[in-house]
Amino acid sequence: MTELRDVSFSYAAAPEKGCIKHMDLTVPDGQFLLLTGSSGCGKSTVIRLLNGLVPHFFEGELSGDVLIDGRSVPKMELYETAALQGTVFQNPRAQFFTVDTTGELAFGCENQGLPENEILSRIGRTVERFRISDLMDRNIFCMSGGEKQKIACASVDTLQPPLILLDEPSANLDYASTMQLREIIKLWKSEGRTIIAAEHRLFYLWDIADRALLIRDGAIAEDWSRADMDAMTNEKLAEYGLRSIHDTDPVTIERSCSRGEVFNVKPHKKFTFPAEIPLHEITAVVGRNGAGKTTFLRHMCRSARRSRRIFMVMQDVDHQLFTDSVLEEVLISLAQEDEAKAREILRSLDLEDFADRHPMSLSGGQKQRVAIACAAASGRDILLFDEPTSGLDYEHMRQTADLLRQLREQGRTVLVVTHDSELIEACCTNIIRLES
């Protein structure tokens, strides 16, 4: 049994964000519990309380007790908690420790000091059950996000923990990989493991979870049983600020716009990409894994480097902000230094209050807008977005959709590579399918 007893916690670094207030929770063995709620509501904090990262890694003020099978997590060392739970995190790039897959599956067991033969037989069992023999003995750096996440699940599996925790595991995955993740979770559930998952994207878990909690401001606002969940509709969830439970493959969505002006794409050596992109529209670019979405983006950027028309807002926008203030960021993008003009651009994107802030200290959505401001400053009229809504909750997804519509109204052309069918339905006026 897993329990939270009157737990309150606030982070030392940011006391307002993600705090927990007097939470009581009991999760019986074998239950699959889904935690949901908007960003910063505290659902990730619950996961961290259970795996011991709070308070041992993320420091702050804690009261109450967290128990796994009667043992107090805050009183244990992290390496002791490691034997009781396995956690799959959000970012596939940051959660593997070794460079090769086999070493990764062995890693947790090695830390527990299990005998070598035992570890090898466990790896064999996991590989068989997960059907991942083709992923063995490979360099993890050369794998796709979906494959990395599968390895992360497999490395949790080899430890055979009674409790499995998932912290937004699908945030960076496309549709197909998300469905594979669903299969793995179903497998765990069928084996009677206790599973607790914090997620924004509900569609792939809603029908297999036993219970769902809505967390709001660090407290349990709603506690839905299986029957409540069956009765739930998308409209009602939207009122709670939650995402859709309908399973829509973005590849199946239809959208088309009237033919107007187009931007001509140069042909690519290996892939057959669409030759024309309609201007002044919001075009979604969708495709299965390996259909060349990344290559497409890179190709677009490269072929338009001369004409200086295209600007890409990267998935990890941190990579494209370099300076120590938002204003400076826009200034170095202008052909001639002109502070008045820079401030005007910031105003048009509601960023004027942040002019002196360091770009890295802003929220994800604000950083996206800073990048767009840079695009405007350098006079680009075609904006590429690479998965702008990955890991965003309903509210922030709506905000991104509004922003894209606003850009279109200003006469810009928007191209969004995305696996988020809700975003496509909310704002895209055209769709391009990449076929492999």
Partner: protein
């Protein structure tokens, strides 16, 4: 393909450092010195690092040639210094390149554990090797973003250019590092329990041959120096 145990590779690095880099025994080390100058290149070929081997061989060749060009005055000094530095450092660096490119991280940690090196050194080193490719990924992502943004930074702003490249690289790396650290800790890294390791290392025929080579060189140098 010849596969050497990481400990054998360390021995070869030591031999390289003593005989070629350190110049133990001077002229008495011949012909072993020549053997150790050539060995890293042969080993690089076994792991298909042809480009590195060729570049290294060219540098070493230049170094050897520079020592034999008869010149006078200032030019001679520069030439001789280049010759001295190249002939000493290149074979050793090539051996280092071979060791780094042919050893997997788990092999390396297994070898360190067998040599009873404390986990206080092996754990940070394992993290470091894991983190190199991440830093590289960050660097290239930032480089690409810079090209795309086509930032106006002319001649006089070299320092700023370095700042705008290094600082985001560090910021992004530190952020990923935090996540990596959290993930590793929930999986029990740093436990006082003695770690096991599924990576199998051990000495084979090729290792014994390398040991014999090093021993022979040592005996030869001592014997020649005494007589």
């Amino acid at each position: 393909m010849i596969k050497l145990d990481p400990r054998t590779k360390l021995l070869l690095l030591l031999a390289e450092a003593v005989i070629v880099l350190g110049g133990l025994g001077g002229g008495n080390a011949e012909p072993f010195k020549t053997v150790f100058m050539a060995l890293p290149f042969l080993l690089l070929l076994t792991v298909k690092k042809y480009r590195t081997a060729v570049i290294g061989a060219v540098l070493l060749g230049l170094g050897l040639a520079a020592g034999h060009i008869p010149t006078e005055g200032r030019g001679a000094i520069v030439l001789l210094m280049c010759s001295g530095i190249l002939t000493r450092f290149v074979p050793s660096l090539m051996m280092g390149n071979y060791v780094m490119s042919s050893t997997r991280v788990s092999e390396f940690t297994a070898a360190m554990e067998r040599m009873h090196v404390t986990p206080k050194i092996t754990i940070p080193m394992a993290v470091m090797f894991r983190f190199f490719p991440t830093v590289k990924e960050e660097c290239s992502a930032i480089g690409e973003a810079m090209k795309m943004r086509d930032i106006r930074l002319g001649g006089s702003k070299v320092m700023q250019m370095a700042e705008y490249r290094l600082v985001p690289m560090m910021t992004c790396s530190v952020k990923i590092g935090e996540e990596l650290s959290a993930a590793a800790l929930t999986r029990g890294l740093g436990s006082p329990v003695k770690r096991t390791n599924v990576c199998r290392i051990g000495f084979r025929a090729a290792d014994i041959a390398m040991f014999l080579l090093c021993a022979a060189a040592l005996v030869w140098i001592i014997w020649r120096s005494v007589t």
